[in-house]
């Protein structure tokens, strides 16, 4: 799980920087951004599978519903951000993506907190 978080977290950071650069240059989301978002989303699907497998050796006091909730919830953030940002291909649309990209690593932190209790 730690490895997935490190890789996907790094991808989020890279995508964040790319989006910031595009905001400064005032160009709408590019294929590069879309590609990075798709890659992160694939990583989050891997996280979901790994997280469900990991449930096998969960600590006794783990709130399984919370754990699964965060795993599934993290999958929804970027598609929602992407769709919402498509309606306004401007700096604000990019801003929506930035929020989404900041929320995803925050959810990793939450998942970790849920696991250790």
């Amino acid at each position: 799980m730690g490895l997935i978080w490190a890789i996907v977290g790094a991808l989020c950071a890279i995508a964040f920087v790319v989006v910031v650069v595009q905001m400064i240059r005032n160009v709408p989301a590019s294929n590069l951004v879309d590609g990075l978002l798709a890659l992160i989303e694939v990583g989050l699907v891997v996280q979901l599978v790994a997280g469900l497998v990991k449930l096998g050796d969960a600590p006794a006091d783990l709130s399984k519903a919370t754990w699964i909730g965060y795993l599934i919830g993290s999958l929804l953030i970027l598609p929602a951000a992407w769709i919402w940002s498509m309606a306004e291909r401007s700096r604000s649309g990019l801003g929506v993506l930035l929020v989404g990209l900041a929320v995803v690593p925050f959810l990793f932190l939450r998942l970790h907190q849920v696991w250790v209790g």
Partner: protein
Amino acid sequence: MTEQESRQRPGVVRAGAGLLNRNFGRILVFVYGVLALSATGRASVQIATKFDKAPLQYLLSAFAAIVYILATWALGTSRKAVAVGVVTVEFFAVLIIGATNSGSVVLDKQTVWTDFGSGYGYVPLLLPFVVVWWLWFNRERGPRGA
């Protein structure tokens, strides 16, 4: 025309209509949407799995979810009156819950407003101010502006 210029002349661009879900409002709606999702998920888990433990707190948690869903809807569809009402409720709720629950949280953070929303980077405390600023920024302007 750059976006900055258009933002400084909202009366020209939007004829004072002040759509709340455009420009910065688009980001704002998304932030509210994320909070609505978290609050709904949290309340659902609490009520479904451990309602007996702290019924009042978990009902408050559900109330928070409703507030964020309403706020997202009101801002997303540019309903100013509803937005003002909901955000006022949110503001007082985060202050009251923050002041009341502080220090007595045992099991887990019970609502998104617990401890003034510290679990969410105090975003729940800051958002009402941002919304009020955004509503003011998009207020109806007279013929001479402002």
